[in-house]
């Protein structure tokens, strides 16, 4: 019964150390030291020395058994289950003859069955754990042993070993970097697995070890490292290296942590400091808890209640027995004396209590847990088998890695998502650009065929073949030699910090520290401006086939405040030019006034790009005269040399020169979302699931992605940014956000009322207003005007759409005990929450917080090792598979390749699982109560003697044979509505969240029904049979006839009941239902046959009963009567409920079936009322607002400029490094380090939040205003040509997904936009009056002004005025 078990930490490498250690303590005694480990001493190349400390080695064990220990350990574990122990206890009770009311086999057969099924399952699980342990433990790494490199398995790597890592290898343990093939002991790592940041990071070895270089020297290295004990702080390491009587301090900068990947570095050597469970990755992975679903918990509670109920019944019957024995039994002793040990009625009652506990134990169905397991296993297989969750690109199918959580998938309320790799593909593509007021890359013909991908090869032999661009005009413009275009790409090829590597002629590899920059340089490369190589002082490019070498005069490096970077170069002709790229917000301010017109056009373009969720950069240049350069160069040198406030002085110097620039244009980079992300998010939020993004990435990036996946939209009332560094400031920010929300929603509510009134007075167009006010607010409230103003400060009644963005360091404060409630209430009032720069542990904390405060089911989805802790602490963890790195997958409960499969996992599989499980449980409790309670009633007629009503074989087989399969078939196969319907009507998901289908109330209903059935099943045969006789005069009231009649009636009633409950009759259901009834009769006749009786006359006492009984018409009349009395009320009740209070699923099912039956093509309108509240629109979801969200959204780090100019990272030995000032070399890495710890300064909300004016009245915000979609379902599809609609559906290929089921949904956006447009157009003066009212109320111009232009509002904002 795994339900109750602590399933061990799931799968491998991310084991929880805490628990493991405890276990290891017994075996190897390894952990003894661990508890007291205060510092770690590791001596390189000295295994004997290190062995003394018994540090954990790199081996990871997650399996629980081996062949020998399996049986005892597994049985021991199984008997730790309350339920199993209980049944064992019953078994022992049954062996006491005075108590035994049933044969021993009635309990042992089911118990053995249950135990063996569970054991088989445990064995299978453990086998896979062994397999995956082996897989990780057997990865190869090269270890330096006695002076030579030897291949060793990961598990054999020990603390103190020196191992060699090669490019793109995973780091096997936490290493101290000793040396690398790169100069200065540098190496580059990608830490995405650890913290989710995708940019490359630099690590440098201590200089003395860096010189060691090759293995021969390293073999004799005998330094000793003394450092802190294992901990989970990813960004901190503190230790000292003692070598040759000298001390060298060690920091995190010298460490390579397990889980990182070596990049751009041929090879490096490292000393193992922490291994296996001690590594930071493992320490960070949080505690593995055995996950239990809420249904499990409820079930356990209910089982306890049932136990209580059982004891009550036992007591009642025991009291009955006492009374009976006193009043009747004592007088009856002439025929039935008391058993020898029984000397008074009290003792008899005591024994009878236990006897009744044995008999009535079937109310706690022994097969419950095992059946639940089987059902979940079935659901898991369905998830694994789902082709619609199969990603053909990476050839991975969805995998359900646990089999215990399925129904919880149908109850999710909060989703916590990682960004990189989960929402995004982490691929940047150069998507669009605007050059000199001309935009390129716009796909203009959405209905036409897929535009052709440009082929660069004939034009440019150096082009990167992987680069995609579709707009021929741009290439034309390059070819004809448009000056602006050339300058544009020249800028891109010069202004960056990319390093190039040219292995052979023309085979260029760019090493960009951020993928955006790589994308820009690659774009320039393909359009003929190829960046070839750089030295500290030069940049060599090939421009339109001509090699040009620029001398690099200065790099004005990027930082978070400047949000831009520039280079100053001198071209071969001697002209000095400053090229700058940066966030438009900062760049556009620094343009020369003559750029005004171009600026406004470019600005429009930028808005467009921004609305599409692209990351934008503005590009500008400035020619410098020699004098200007000289002058500035001097001041720059000054600033650079300054010892105090160097930063500020440099910034001021940069600021001085980056003025009066000429605008070149803008670029738009797409941070490619995973397929179908916006649609999925929209669908899930329609299903009332809240989505939080938790990312280690920077705020700008996170916000940008938030917009591009439509979590944030321009229609949002306000976006709050919490970025405070201190407790007070965070508290203050949270408080003011709440106040603002309250104020806005109050204002709005009042405003709405007033507005509605005004409209009504004005033109009496009530319908229009209602439709529109819901649209405008974008809130899910239909009764917008009836919302009470939230003056009380109740955060639940906040209306309107808010978003909250909080950064890691603020989060740290917000998660403190005294503020967390405040944080939760603020965050939960928001529609979207984005946490950026969070550490893995914080991710888990956020999840825990919601679990604690909201009592809601949470789901965490992520792809990297940094998500592991979150995945583990959420109720359900989902890992994105198919990418590099499997840490997240291994820690997860479900894994699949694409974020968009989440909708299917939740809305289809989860919903079905929940539904099936609930129906299963209801029925299961029902059937056991119906079965068992008959004994209770019989007790009153048999002197409370614990006489069973049924044959003991019937009792044994009832739960495991006669009634198990039909309900299992229902639990596995049942469907109320088909899968595509549940995607179409996300509202169908809500019953699960509200826990409507199985809760205490439902439980009481079904046990009441069970008890009712038992009453009928006992008293109807009682009334009929007591005086009945066979047609040959033999009375029918003998015990065996009664038993057979009741049992048969019971089997038939519960079979009819399951037939009623089953909504989806597959072959299996038919087979099992009919089969069960058939098997009942077959087995009964067999058990009552002569053959068995002749062998065991003592056991098969019911010989002949079946035939004697079932040949009597009265018996069948009794059974029919009992069945009718049991079933007819249920049937009537269900029918009336269906008619009077239909659930959404009933309606959908009904329309579905009616449609199927009628095959009416035009049936789309059926159920239209429901669609209104539930259906989702695909395609373009957000209205194009005017917000500008460009930022220098690079995942960029400061300091690379300096690194380049210092030449430190360049391998060209020919470089005259001496030319460069030595202070550079010490400062660049300082800068890097400092920047890493120094976080983004708090930004004001203004930058990212759309201006309040965007709270539009008329822009149809499709994502949420589903209420508009209701009315006009019959809009002809032809209107789809409306250009506004299809745009983004073509840019996201997801739209071409399983086309057939979604087809109706795709119509929705058309409907709404057209209807909205119609509404805006037709009533004269409507738009105007709207605007007026708005202005009057809010004192600001809304987006209504756009609709003033008498065109559909969407288009109005899209097309910039020319």
């Amino acid at each position: 019964m795994t339900v109750l078990t602590d399933i061990p930490e799931k799968w491998l490498p991310v084991v929880l150390p805490i628990k493991k250690k405890k276990k290891a303590g017994f075996g190897g005694g390894k952990s003894k030291k661990k508890r007291t480990e205060e510092e770690r001493r590791v001596k390189a190349n000295d295994r004997e020395h290190n062995e003394k400390f018994q540090y954990a080695n790199n081996c990871i064990v997650t399996s629980k058994y081996n062949i020998l220990t399996f049986l005892p350990v597994n049985l021991f574990e199984q008997f730790q289950e309350v339920a199993n122990t209980y049944f064992l206890f019953l078994l022992i009770l049954q062996l006491i003859p005075q108590i035994s009311s049933l044969s021993w086999f009635t309990t042992i057969v089911p118990l053995a069955l249950v135990l063996s099924i569970t054991a088989v399952k445990d064995a299978t699980d453990d086998y896979f754990r062994h397999k995956s342990d082996n897989q990780v433990n057997n990865r190869q790494s090269q270890v330096l042993i006695r002076g030579s490199l030897q291949n060793e398995k990961w598990m054999n790597v020990k603390v103190g070993d020196i191992i060699k890592l090669e490019n793109n290898q995973f780091v096997a343990a936490d290493l101290l970097l000793l040396s690398s093939t790169e100069p200065h002991g540098l190496c580059y790592i990608e830490t995405a697995e650890l913290d989710g940041e995708t940019n490359m990071k630099v690590r440098q070895s201590v200089s003395v070890t860096a010189e060691l270089g090759d293995p021969n020297n390293l073999a004799s290295f005998d330094g000793e490292v003394v450092c802190e004990p294992p901990n989970n702080k990813l960004d901190r390491f503190c230790g000292t290296l003692y070598w040759r009587e000298k001390k060298y301090p060690l920091t995190n900068q010298n460490m390579l942590l397990r889980g990182c990947v070596l990049r751009n570095t041929e090879a490096c050597y490292g000393l193992v400091i922490f291994a296996g469970p001690d590594t930071k990755l493992m320490q960070n992975s949080g505690r593995t808890k055995f996950k239990r679903t809420s249904i499990d918990r409820l079930m356990n509670t209910l089982v306890l209640w049932i136990f209580g109920f059982l004891v009550c019944m036992g007591v009642i019957l025991a009291v009955g027995n006492a009374v009976w024995e006193r009043e009747v039994g004592s007088l009856f002793q002439s025929y039935l004396p008391w058993d020898p040990p029984v000397d008074n009625f009290m003792f008899s009652a005591f024994l009878s209590f236990w006897s009744y506990i044995i008999i009535l134990n079937t109310v706690v169905p022994i097969s419950l847990y095992v059946s639940v397991e089987v059902i979940r296993l079935g659901h898991s297989y369905f998830i694994n088998w789902d082709r619609q969750m199969f990603c053909s690109r990476c050839n991975t199918a969805a995998e359900s890695r646990t089999t215990t959580l399925n129904e919880e998938l149908g109850q999710v309320e909060y989703i916590f998502s990682d960004k990189t790799g989960t929402l995004t593909q982490n691929i940047m593509t150069f998507n669009k650009c605007s050059i000199n007021g001309q935009t390129y890359g716009e796909v203009t013909d959405p209905l036409g065929k897929q535009p052709k991908r440009l082929d660069f090869t004939p034009f440019n032999p150096l082009a990167n073949p992987d680069f995609c661009f579709y707009d021929e005009k741009l290439l034309e413009s390059v070819k004809v030699g448009d000056l602006h275009t050339h300058e544009f790409f020249r800028l891109l090829s010069l202004c960056h910090t990319v390093m190039s590597e040219e292995k052979s002629e023309g085979e260029l590899v760019y090493k960009a520290q951020s993928p955006d920059e790589g994308a820009l340089v690659t774009a320039a490369r393909n359009f003929g401006f190829v960046f070839r190589s750089r030295t500290p002082g030069t940049i060599t490019t090939t421009e339109m086939g001509r090699t040009v070498t620029y001398s690099l005069l200065a790099i004005l490096d990027f930082n978070n405040i400047r949000k831009r970077m520039s280079v100053i170069v001198r071209n071969p002709e001697g002209r000095i030019c400053l090229y700058c790229k940066g966030a438009d917000t900062v760049l556009l301010e620094r343009l020369h006034p003559c750029n005004q017109e171009l600026m406004s056009i470019t600005s429009d373009h930028l808005n467009e790009y921004g609305a599409d969720g692209l990351r934008t950069l503005a590009l500008a240049y400035r020619e410098l005269s020699e004098d200007e350069w000289e002058a500035w160069s001097e001041s720059h040198r000054c600033a650079d040399k300054a010892t105090d406030c160097r930063e500020d002085r440099l910034a001021a110097a940069y600021d001085k020169i980056e003025q009066d620039m000429k605008l070149l244009g803008a670029t738009a980079i797409e941070d490619k979302l995973q397929e179908g992300v916006p649609e999925t998010i929209a669908l899930l939020s329609l299903a009332n699931i809240k989505i939080w993004v938790l990312t280690g990435d920077k705020q700008e990036t996170a916000v940008n992605i938030g917009y591009s996946c439509k979590m944030l939209t321009d229609d949002m009332t306000e976006v709050f940014i919490i970025g405070g560094h201190t407790v007070q400031s965070v508290r203050q920010e949270l408080r003011s956000a709440r106040e603002r929300m309250m104020e806005l929603s109050r204002g709005k509510t009042e405003g709405m009322e007033a507005w509605a009134e005004a409209c009504f007075m004005g033109n009496g167009m009530k319908d229009g207003q209602e439709g529109d006010c819901t649209t405008g607010r974008g809130s899910k409230q239909l009764h917008c005007s009836s919302l009470p103003p939230s003056a009380s400060g109740d955060m639940d009644s906040i209306s309107g759409e808010f978003a909250l963005i909080i950064s890691g360091h603020s989060l740290a404060h917000a998660l403190e005990a005294d503020m967390e409630a405040e944080f939760v209430s603020t965050a939960c009032a928001c529609k979207a929450v984005i946490c950026c720069r969070v550490t893995p542990l914080q991710k888990a904390q956020v999840v825990e917080l919601i679990k604690k405060h909201k009592k809601a089911v949470t789901l965490a989805i992520g792809d990297g090792a940094n998500d592991v802790s979150m995945i583990k602490s959420a109720h359900i963890g989902v890992g994105i598979s198919g990418q590099e790195g499997i840490q997240a997958v291994l820690a997860s409960d479900y894994s699949f390749a694409q974020f968009r499969f989440l909708q299917r996992l939740l809305l289809v599989h989860g919903r079905w699982s929940y539904l099936r499980m609930c129906r299963f449980l209801c029925y299961f409790f029902y059937k056991n109560f119906a079965f068992t309670m008959v004994h209770f009633w019989f007790g009153f007629f048999c002197g409370f003697s614990a006489q069973t009503v049924y044959d003991q074989f019937f009792i044994t087989l009832y739960n495991i044979v006669y009634t198990s399969l039909p309900v299992l078939a229902m639990g596995v196969f049942d469907q109320d509505v088909p899968d595509h319907r549940s995607l179409e009507y996300p509202k169908l998901y809500e019953p699960g969240q509200l826990n409507l289908l199985f809760n205490k109330k439902e439980f009481f209903i079904c046990i009441t029904q069970g008890i009712y059935t038992s009453v009928v099943l006992f008293f109807v045969p009682y009334a009929v049979l007591s005086d009945a006789t066979q047609s040959n005069g033999v009375p029918l009231a003998d015990y065996q006839t009664f038993a057979v009649t009741t049992a048969t009636a019971l089997v038939i009633v519960v079979s009819v009941q399951i037939a009623l409950d089953t909504g989806f009759w597959t072959v299996f259901n038919h087979m099992f239902v009919w089969g069960s009834v058939g098997s009942y009769f077959t087995i009964m006749f067999a058990l009552h046959s002569q053959t068995l009786f002749r062998i065991f006359p003592n056991q098969f006492r019911f010989i002949g009963s079946a035939q004697n009984t079932l040949l009597q018409p009265v018996v069948w009349l009794t059974i029919a009567l009992a069945t009718a009395v049991c079933v007819v009320p249920v049937l009537a009740f269900r029918f009336l409920k269906l008619d009077l209070k239909p659930q959404l699923s009933d309606t959908v099912r009904h329309t579905q079936l009616v449609r199927q039956k009628r095959r009416k093509p035009g049936g789309r309108s059926i159920g239209g009322a429901w669609r209104g509240t539930g259906s989702v629109s695909e395609g373009r979801l957000g209205a194009r607002g005017g917000s500008r969200r460009s930022g220098y959204a690079f995942s960029h780090q400061e300091g690379f400029g300096e690194l380049i100019t210092s030449g430190k990272n360049m391998r060209l030995s020919s470089l005259a490094l001496a030319n460069f000032a030595s202070k550079h070399s010490s400062s660049w890495i300082e800068t890097l380090r400092r920047k890493k710890t120094n976080h983004t300064p708090p930004s004001t909300s203004g930058e990212c939040s759309p201006a309040p004016s965007n709270v539009s009245g008329t822009c149809p915000a499709l994502s949420n205003s589903s209420s508009v979609l209701g009315g006009s379902q019959e809009t002809p599809i032809e209107e789809e040509t409306d250009a506004a609609v299809v745009l983004s559906s073509s840019s996201h290929p997801a739209a071409s997904e399983p086309a057939e089921p979604r087809a109706p949904a795709q119509v929705a956006p058309v409907d709404s936009s057209t209807s909205a447009a119609a509404r805006t157009d037709s009533p004269g003066g409507w738009a105007r009056s709207l605007e007026t009212v708005q202005e009057a109320l809010f004192g600001r111009r809304g987006c209504a002004s756009a609709s003033n232009t008498q065109v559909p509002p969407c288009d109005a904002t899209e097309t910039p005025p020319h």
Binding site: S101, V328, L331, S334, Y335, L336, D339, P340, N384, W385, D386, F390, N395, W912, F941, C942, G943, S945, Q947, F973, D979, Y1022, V1024, D1027, A1028, T1029, Q1030, S1031, N1032, G1033, V1034, P1035, Y1039, F1042, A1043, G1063, F1064, W1065, T1066, V1067, Q1090, F1093, R1094, P1097, N1098, I1103, G1104, V1114, L1117, T1118, L1121, A1124, V1128, L1131, R1134, L1138, D1139, L1140, H1150, L1153
Partner: protein, 339 residues
């Protein structure tokens, strides 16, 4: 998509109706067009059957005579506490012909044959004629396993020990002369009991099989002397014994004693006065039980059973009423939508 379909990839799950959960399925819904007619149909059927049952049941005649003798006026009152053999007789009259075949039952009330201990107190192996269990009966029979001299009791157990041993004679007063009504005791037990479940040991004479065993303490004579006239009605397969051993499900029960199928009475008991003579042996006074004799005839569906007919009529009418209610509800709330 098309391209991908063609591509054979190893991990792609099979595209079968089963794995994709697209199995063809019958999806019943409780639509009005099914439920309401169904209710009507069930209702009609139940009412029909109920009426038939009720009428049949009414035609069945039943004559019940309580002979416990609690009442001091009662002829059997004297026997009530008498431990010695005692005979009493009761007279009754039958107004019209009591149609045959007539069945003669004895009934007991407040008698807990369904008590667990009581019911379990027998040894089926012994009763199956297994001689091994003659010498060492199952402990289930306690405390009637062995007598005070530690001799095994056959048949052991409380159930056998308490066998009903009143005997009855029925006489018809024809012209003032008592005429004994012949009672037929053949085939009153279950066929399976008589032929399979209970067996005498295959030792002749039967008495030898019981060497070294004792009769049940309450019994006046041993099991092999229950019916000395008929070797096939003796020992464990004695019909009265079998009838007794088939324990009743409820504390008030009646068991078949004899059939009246012979001679003049094959067609039934003619109207007239009858005398029932009871050899009153079986004490029920101690536990407030009652003893009675029941004469009854049967129909195709067995003995008199008013409850069944009434229940069917009630359930049937409820169904009809429900279907009307549902129709009203349906018409009010759903009709417009559905059409």
């Amino acid at each position: 998509m098309v391209k991908e379909e063609q591509e054979e990839s190893s991990n792609r799950p099979d595209n079968t109706a089963f794995t994709q959960q697209r199995l063809p399925a019958w999806q019943p819904i409780l639509s009005a067009s099914i439920v309401i007619p169904m209710f009507l149909l069930i209702g009609a059927a139940f009412i029909g059957v109920g009426v038939a049952l009720f009428i049949t049941s009414r035609d069945i005649q039943l004559q019940e005579l309580d002979y416990t003798g609690d009442d001091s006026e009662h002829p059997c009152f004297k026997c009530r506490t008498n431990t010695e053999k005692c005979t009493c007789s009761m007279t009754f009259s039958i107004p019209t012909l009591f149609k045959g075949p007539v069945f003669f039952y004895y009934g007991l009330t407040n008698y807990f044959q369904n008590q667990r201990k009581y019911g379990a107190s027998k040894d089926d192996n012994q009763l199956y004629g297994d001689l091994n269990y003659f010498t060492s009966p199952s402990t289930d029979c306690d405390p009637y396993t062995r007598d005070s001299k530690n001799m095994p009791i056959v048949p052991c157990g409380a159930l056998a020990n308490s066998m009903f041993n009143d005997t009855f004679t029925l006489s018809h007063t024809v012209n003032g002369v008592q005429k004994i009504v012949p009672l037929d005791g053949k085939g009153i037990a279950w066929w399976t009991d008589y032929n399979i479940k209970y067996r005498n040991p295959s030792i002749t004479p039967l008495i030898n099989a019981f060497n070294g065993t004792k009769k049940p303490t309450n019994w006046p004579k041993p099991i092999y002397e229950l019916d000395t006239t008929d070797v096939y009605n003796n020992g464990f397969i004695n019909q009265d014994f079998l009838v007794w051993m088939r324990r009743a499900a409820l504390p008030d029960f009646r068991k078949l004693y004899r059939r009246i199928t012979h001679d003049d009475y094959a067609a039934g008991l003619p109207a007239g006065n009858y005398t029932l003579t009871i050899a009153y042996n079986y004490p029920v006074h101690s536990f407030n039980g009652k003893k009675k004799v029941v004469l009854s005839n049967v129909s195709w569906m067995g003995g008199k059973n008013d409850f069944l007919g009434i229940a069917y009529i009630v359930v049937g009418s409820m169904c009809v009423v429900m279907s009307v209610v549902m129709l009203i509800v349906y018409a009010r709330f759903k009709f417009a939508e559905d059409v």
